[in-house]
């Protein structure tokens, strides 16, 4: 099975390399004159005020949370889906039960208003 992964192990670094070449080239070809005003962080015409580390809405975290749970769910369901053809009805229903339990979680988040973008 490892030889199947050889191609992926080759194409990923190759793609990374090929995409780095133009960047390196433009560093070579392009001008390199730096001054503090140019290197300063982009703002709408005024100096940057405060830290870069603005604080973020907790909403981002809640979306990430729901995503994590559903991602794990999908990972559990993939083997189930592969085996689906050979499964008895009760086994399919178990998979559906799995989905429904998590759908309850989504419903909870929805009802409690956590899916609203405040």
């Amino acid at each position: 099975m490892s030889d199947q992964w050889l191609f992926i192990a080759l194409i990923l670094p190759l793609a990374l390399f090929m995409a780095s070449v133009p960047i390196g080239l433009s560093r070579l070809i392009g001008p390199r004159k730096s001054n503090p005003a140019k290197d300063a962080a982009y703002e709408c015409g005024i100096e940057t005020v405060g830290d870069t580390w603005v604080q973020f809405k907790v909403q981002y975290y809640i979306f990430a949370l729901v995503f994590v749970v559903f991602d794990v769910e999908a990972v559990f369901l993939f083997p189930w889906a592969v085996a689906y053809e050979q499964l008895q009805l009760y086994a399919v229903l178990e998979g559906i039960l799995f989905i429904l339990i998590l759908a309850a979680g989504l419903l909870y988040a929805w009802r409690k208003g956590n899916l609203e973008w405040i």
Partner: protein, 102 residues
């Protein structure tokens, strides 16, 4: 071929590094990262034992998947706890969260 012991040594090393992270770091998020390292070490062991000792049974892989689910739940709840504590006490330094210490 790669002997089983290599995997086990690597897993042991990762586990111990994670253990250091859990015991030695001050930041609660860093402690959680240590826990993730430890869980990964466990997973390496599970999969290595499955491959070398009982490849006919799927138990090792099934276990590993359950560990993934546990790791995800643990990270979600742990990080939510950290956010909640941070909101109330403005700190994520584990030593300073000592409300229930005495």
């Amino acid at each position: 071929m790669i002997p089983l012991s290599w995997y086990l040594i690597l897993a042991a090393a990762l586990f111990c590094i994670g253990l250091y992270g859990v015991l030695g770091r001050r930041n609660a998020v860093a402690i959680l990262m240590g826990i993730e390292l430890m869980l990964n070490a466990v997973n390496i062991n599970l999969v290595a034992f499955w491959r070398y000792l009982t490849p006919a049974l799927i138990a090792g892989q099934a276990f590993a998947i359950i560990v993934f689910a546990v790791a995800a739940s643990e990270a979600a709840v742990g990080l939510a706890l950290i956010i909640s504590i941070y909101r109330q006490r403005s700190t994520v330094i584990a030593e300073e969260i000592d409300l229930m210490k005495w």
